[in-house]
């Protein structure tokens, strides 16, 4: 029993941190600019493919630096020449713009790299088991993933809460006129924020690429789980996203470990027969089977009972 709990906790934390890694850029852009960036997964994919291309030429480590920089530059260009123009027409236009952008990125990636997965490998220097518990190995690359994720969280938190840059950026969202009056270039602030958010997506891509599957449909398969993280955590709250990632990671991992079903719960009760007839469709479905759906259930519950999320500061 202890073994299962221990391993599940470990797996849950690792998965949660991977989720946070992927969601951090989305949160940054949303909390600083108020833009829900649908193209986030697209930039994540670009990061993975750039990382792959650089890693097979000069190695993984240069890729980890160069790929996010390149994708960040692309992001800034997108903000400067695309998003900024669309911004005038309100949030719906922004949403549609980023939504369309995902298709453009996907097609571009397919044209360059084809539709098959590419062989993006874990770097040699991290390709060994870090430690073994209860006979299960934990690869060093996963630990690296975890470290990067925590580091990103801490750095972002410090920059936003403790530095002048963070202050200006936050003020630019709520009082753009005043911030401009004080001599700051609000447009440039937004462009940089978008660039940073997109670069974070690319960092996630570079790191998740070798761990998962680097393929032209990876953006689509990443799916809505990141939006769950952001909404559950509270739209625009970095700490919230961090906690929500962990929560979702643990919830899902523990659910998979459980083989309980309604039949086990009520099977021995007096009304078992009647219950079984009424609930025949779900009578034997185990918790494990529905595990990956649980985050979405959580999303629905949060939206009903606490629409601003666990740590959100505003309703929308």
């Amino acid at each position: 029993m202890f073994e299962i709990v221990f391993i599940s906790t470990l797996n849950g934390i690792l998965y949660g941190m991977l989720l946070f890694l992927m969601a951090s850029g989305l949160t940054v852009i949303f909390s600083m600019m108020g833009v829900l960036n649908f193209a986030h997964a697209g930039f994540y994919m670009l990061g993975a493919f750039f990382g792959f291309e650089i890693s097979r030429r000069v190695g993984f480590w240069p890729g980890l630096v160069i790929a996010p920089l390149l994708v960040g530059l692309i992001g800034m260009a997108v903000e400067r020449y695309g998003l900024r123009r669309v911004h005038r027409h309100g949030h719906v236009a922004e949403l549609l713009f980023t939504f369309g952008l995902t298709y453009v990125i996907q097609q571009a990636v397919e044209m360059v790299w084809g539709k098959l997965p590419v062989d993006y490998e874990v770097p040699r220097s991290l390709d060994f088991p870090a430690f073994t518990v209860f006979g299960t190995e934990y690869p060093a690359f996963k630990m690296f993933e975890l470290l990067i994720s925590v580091a990103i969280f801490l750095v972002l938190l410090l920059v936003i809460k403790r530095t002048r840059i963070g202050l200006v950026v936050q003020a630019a969202l709520s009082h753009p006129g005043m911030v401009a009056m004080l001599g700051h270039n609000v447009d440039r602030v937004f462009m940089l924020v978008f660039g940073v958010g997109v670069a974070l997506a690319a960092v996630a891509g570079v790191i998740a690429g070798p761990a998962l599957v680097t393929q032209s449909n990876m953006a689509g398969l990443l799916g809505p789980i990141l939006f769950v993280v952001v909404v559950v955590g509270g739209l625009g709250s970095l700490g919230g996203a961090f906690i929500a990632s962990l929560l979702i990671g643990l919830l899902q991992t523990f659910a998979v470990a459980s083989n309980a079903s309604l039949a086990d719960l009520f099977g021995s009760s007096a009304s078992a027969g009647a219950l079984q007839t009424y609930l025949s469709d779900i009578w034997n479905v185990t918790v494990a089977q529905v595990a990956p759906i649980l985050p979405y259930l959580l999303l629905v519950l949060i939206l009903i009972f606490r629409p601003r999320g666990l740590m959100g500061t505003r309703e929308t």
Partner: protein, 416 residues
């Protein structure tokens, strides 16, 4: 030109006459209805590449019955509703041969649709050639005269696989993990049943289902497999569900044998190679590259030169087209009503090894030798690698045709 034809067709149908087939004299059009965008695109594109490759070669030799082949792609996004729209579109263009593969739900929808269509249009039949959908329902409960299947159905693959496993002495504890939809369930149910019959001593220590293409992190599933003490895993998983599962298993240091249907599918070999699981992942298929059979190897070489970026193909699509063209030439007609009877019972030397297979007339299921193979770095004996990984499939066992025969419940209704 197309506009005029469309106008003419519209005018004719208004007059109550049937629309004229738009196919120009001397071309035989094949409709390819499969995913060409979205998540399934990588798989669908391979089939399209291969059909075009085949058409070019046949055309260079003068075509079929003097007719040039033309492959017309229709993107169905693996969606049954969209597939029916696309099939109707193909029919409207005068195409009467539909080639489709991915998604049993799609295949069932098209099979039903064409059954009704052919009843209503007895003088203008359309045929459904299925190269990949393997839900047994297609050739049993729902079997149709106008549907022919070239990939071995789930029960046939498992019949062959369990016949092979019967002799594997080190097999003691089996874990089943499958995607939670009709196909995954039919794999699990059939495997449980057949293992109980053929190896009653083997323990089934887990029978897990997970949602289709929704899991990013398989480590909790791997932890369960590990805790169960299994020495063998049988899975019908495909695509990223297989790739991520195998990678997570390798990460956790799980040492089991993997028996899969689709480790050779797009992305599979890349994942197995990344996981470093040499000689641990097996697949059961109708053929592999590394069988010492010259005609196949020459074709494969030419194919890989033509599509260096996506050097993957399906042997069954070669069997399908080979038999189709033979039937058309025998019947001297590209009218499905005339060539379908020639397909029934046809014997054919399969693409991969030249061993003979046959199209069973009772249910229109093609029976062929099946191969169990394992992925490992290529050596002197294996020439071809997969997806440019440097790893290739090596034959472990050939299951002869007689060990793949299963019963069918199909009661074929033939047109009068």
């Amino acid at each position: 030109m197309t506009k005029k034809l469309a106008l003419a067709a519209a005018a004719l149908s208004i007059l109550g006459l049937s629309a004229m087939p738009a196919a120009a004299e001397g071309t035989l059009k094949l409709a390819y209805v499969d995913p060409l965008s979205g998540g399934g695109a990588s798989i669908g594109q391979i089939g399209l590449n291969q059909l075009r490759f085949i058409a070019e070669r046949i055309n260079a030799k003068g075509g079929v019955n003097g007719e040039k082949l033309e492959v017309v792609p229709f993107d169905n996004e693996v969606n049954p509703q969209k597939s029916l729209v696309q099939v109707q579109k193909a029919i409207d263009q005068g195409i009467r041969i539909i080639i489709q593969g991915n998604g049993s739900s799609v295949a069932v929808a098209i099979e039903d649709f064409l059954r009704k269509y052919n009843e209503r249009n007895p003088d203008k039949n359309v045929i459904h050639l299925n190269y990949a959908a393997i839900d047994p329902i297609l050739t049993n409960e729902k079997c149709s005269y106008w549907h022919f299947a070239w990939d071995a159905a789930v029960n046939i693959k498992l019949e062959a696989l369990t016949n092979y496993l019967k002799g594997q002495k080190d097999l003691k504890k089996v874990y089943l993990i499958d995607q939670d939809y009709s196909f995954g369930h039919s794999v699990a149910d059939t495997a449980v049943k057949m293992l109980k019959e053929k190896r009653p001593d083997v323990q089934i220590v887990g029978n897990e289902f997970h949602p289709l293409v929704k899991v990013t992190d398989f480590s909790p599933y791997v932890a369960k497999i590990k805790a169960s003490g299994a020495d063998t895993v049988i899975t019908g998983n495909w695509g990223q569900d297989l790739a991520l599962l195998i990678k997570a298993a390798a990460d956790a240091g799980l040492k089991v044998k993997w028996y899969t249907f689709y480790a050779g599918g797009a992305g599979g070999p890349t994942a197995v190679k990344q996981a470093g699981l040499a000689d641990q992942v097996f697949q059961i298929t109708e053929g592999i590259n590394n069988i010492d059979y010259k005609p196949a190897q020459e074709t494969i070489r030419a194919y890989m030169e033509a599509y260096p970026k996506e050097p993957v193909y399906y042997p069954r699509l070669f069997n399908l087209t080979g038999m189709l063209f033979e039937a058309i030439e025998e019947a001297k007609s590209d009218d499905p009503a005339k060539f379908a009877p020639k397909l029934e019972g046809m014997k054919y030397k399969t693409f991969s090894s030249g061993d003979e297979g046959f199209m069973r007339a009772d249910d229109h299921q093609f029976f062929q030798p099946l191969y169990i193979s394992t992925l490992e770095p290529v050596d002197t004996k294996t020439e071809f690698d997969e997806e440019n990984t440097g790893w290739g499939w090596k034959e472990v066992a050939q299951v002869p045709v007689k060990d793949t025969i299963t019963e069918t419940t199909c009661k074929m209704k033939r047109p009068k």
